[in-house]
């Protein structure tokens, strides 16, 4: 009975940690019987194709959809005039991701290559594609910026009038997600060595094997249902309803098994568009990213630039860590602030550092807007910190394992964002890794534990 309960997974009554737990849909996966959104077939469904900008930064002078409207099989053509609410994408208002500035369909300006301008709903996908290609847009091209160095250079072209210098400004009027703990200048003054370096990551596409997609279906009762593979069902429902000018009670989202997501299906890329097209055509509308869309216009992991300066004692204690991060969020905010907060709160890594200062900026560029991907904001933080840990260890001629053990969190230590550590496990994890890889650690390091720090080496803010 016990084994059965464990195989049934969490809620089966057994312990989860350390036990194999069977993926709930494994039996149907291997038979090809799992239902994904696309396996639900809706009669009289239309297909959607978006006309997107071929330029990265431009003013729109004119949008001519007349030829598309005459094209075979076309039922509805939508531009910004068909977006009822002035509301734009912004489903992280609760954490300060406001004001939103991203239109569902471009109004007067293009900020990235691939920005949606018009949508065509037609009887077949190839008819929708043919018609979308007939839309004519006239542009006045503008100079572009493609990374944070270009975006922050003096006199750089700006994406938004409301955000000068391409810096996102939080609603309470500051520019960065910040950590202030102790006094880094004092920490640097005490240090034997200062080690400074800049680390960069590049954008990565989440690339789930099932591309993002949905089907929006008008109901006979004035309600709409969207079948979707979204990873963020309730925020997507609320935002899509607002964008379409519908009371939330008139919109139902049906999720289910997604064919992979990795953060790429968090940021509401498709549902509002399908909903608006279903409202205009009064027909079910399917909108799915092709593989090419997924690789070229869906949001990616951001490019990050992380500058770290550490003060360190000869014996390996880090006295201060100063971090300035610029997140290249691309052309629109989406949920990048959330990544900035997570990045900031991850500083200074799983190490106890008495003096920490971090500023994490969101910077606009004319790149594809970025969004979540596995460990949103944390991956670039960990990457930069661990590269820096190796660099500092080398600078003071210390073994990098010992250097990490010496600085690892202990229970009772205070983190830079002022939460006491109570579940530290880094010391034991490094020790286990050392055993598994036959790494020789001196006795003193083998005896260390996360339980507490020796009284001789207290770690207190500003100390």
């Amino acid at each position: 009975m016990k084994a059965k309960a464990e195989m049934d997974g969490i809620g089966g009554g057994g312990h989860a940690v350390g036990q194999p737990i069977k993926q709930r849909e494994l039996d149907s996966h291997v038979k090809g019987q799992t239902l994904y959104y696309e396996d639900v077939k809706v009669p009289r469904m239309l297909h959607l194709k978006i006309h997107r900008s071929p330029v990265a930064h431009a003013r729109i002078l004119n949008i001519d959809t007349s030829k598309a409207e005459q094209s075979d099989g076309v039922v509805a053509v939508l531009t910004y005039r068909d977006v009822p609410a002035t509301k734009v994408w912004s489903h992280f208002e609760a954490i300060g991701a406001a004001p939103g500035a991203e239109p569902i369909l471009a109004v007067d300006k293009i900020r990235w290559k691939g920005e949606p301008i018009a949508a065509v709903a037609a009887e077949t996908l190839s008819q929708a594609e043919d018609a979308a290609a007939k839309i004519k847009v006239t542009y006045e091209k503008l100079p572009s910026v493609f990374d944070v160095d270009e975006a922050l250079a003096p006199g750089a072209p700006e994406l938004f009038d409301c955000w000068p210098g391409n810096h996102y400004v939080f609603p309470d009027d500051h520019k960065a997600a910040q950590i202030r703990f102790g006094d880094v200048e004092k920490g640097f003054a005490e240090a034997d060595h200062l080690v400074e370096h800049v680390y960069r990551t590049r954008p990565i596409e989440q690339a789930p094997i099932e591309t993002a997609g949905c089907v929006a279906v008008p109901g006979s009762d004035g309600r709409y249902t969207i079948y979707t593979n979204s990873q963020a069902l309730s925020t997507t429902r609320n935002s899509a309803a607002e964008i379409a000018g519908l009371p939330v009670a008139r919109l139902r989202l049906v999720g289910g098994t997604a064919g992979g997501g990795f953060g790429g299906k968090v940021d509401m890329a498709i549902e509002p568009m399908a909903l608006l097209a279903a409202m205009k055509s009064k027909r079910p509308v399917k909108y799915r990213f092709t593989r090419e869309d997924e690789m070229t216009v869906s949001s990616t992991r951001a490019a990050w630039r992380v500058s770290i300066k550490d003060g360190v004692m000869r014996d390996g204690r880090i006295t201060a860590r100063h971090v300035i991060t610029h997140q290249d969020i691309g052309a629109y905010l989406r949920n990048s602030i959330y990544g900035a907060f997570k990045h900031a709160s991850h500083m200074p890594g799983p190490y106890t550092v008495p003096n920490v200062w971090a500023d994490v900026y969101c910077v606009f560029t004319n790149r594809t807007p970025s969004a979540a991907m596995r460990g949103f904001g944390v991956m670039p933080a960990s990457f930069a910190i661990e590269m820096q840990m190796d660099r500092v260890a080398k600078a003071i001629h210390m073994d990098p394992w010992q250097f990490r053990l010496k600085n690892a969190f202990r229970n009772g230590d205070m983190k830079a964002h002022r939460r006491e550590v109570w579940d530290a496990a880094l010391v034991e994890t490094i020790q286990a890794a050392a055993r598994l890889t036959a790494k020789d650690l001196p006795e003193e390091y083998r005896q260390m534990s996360s339980a507490k720090r020796p009284l001789s080496a207290p770690r207190i803010a500003g100390g």
């Binding site: 194999p20 069977k22 993926q23 849909e25 494994l26 039996d27 149907s28 996966h29 291997v30 038979k31 090809g32 019987q33 799992t34 239902l35 994904y36 696309e38 396996d39 077939k41 190839s126 690339a207 789930p208 094997i209 099932e210 591309t211 098994t257 997604a258 064919g259 992979g260 997501g261 990795f262 092709t290 593989r291 090419e292």
Partner: protein, 161 residues
């Protein structure tokens, strides 16, 4: 484009379908015949999620024009589900937790079946070669390779054959 009629067998059943020059086997199987195990991950021959057997050979359904399949015998995972050797492969996938989101899994199992039909005792390299056209973004290939290897061992011992 003018459609022509094509008669073929799908999972043992005779079908007569309409296909123009651009109709793919994937469209026929998914849209006309509702074989949902045939997935669409790229529609361009690069992910393997639409893998099926045509006359016993492993094929990518999204690149195969249906118009040329007069008289062909097509097998999707729905058709393989009745086979004992397939159920041994499926059981091994379950035992090795060789699927997570499951979107690649039908194609993986069809590829594994095609391999074991041809080569009942594949080496590790041969298994990797056989599934090299099937992309998986979730599981990692290690459990999948182990699952196929273990299925081969079980089938050699006669379990479920």
């Amino acid at each position: 484009m003018t459609a022509k009629r094509v008669s073929l067998t799908v999972n043992g059943r005779g079908e007569n379908i309409a296909a123009d020059g651009l109709t793919t086997l994937q469209q026929v199987l998914r849209e006309a015949l509702d074989y949902n195990s045939v997935k669409d991950g790229c529609t361009q021959g690069s992910c393997g999620a639409c893998s099926v057997l045509v006359d016993g050979e492993l094929r990518i359904a999204c690149l195969l024009p249906a118009g040329g399949l007069q008289g062909a015998e097509v097998t999707t995972l729905e058709g393989l589900n009745a086979r004992n050797s397939t159920s041994v492969i499926q059981q091994s996938f379950v035992e090795h937790s060789a699927a997570q989101c499951g979107f690649c899994t039908s194609g993986m199992i069809v590829s594994a079946q095609a391999l074991l039909d041809e080569n009942p005792a594949p080496s590790r390299d041969e298994i990797m070669e056989a599934i090299s056209g099937n992309m998986c973004r979730c599981t990692g290939y290690l459990p999948i390779v182990e699952a196929v290897a273990s299925a081969a061992r079980k089938l050699a011992k006669g379990d479920g054959a």
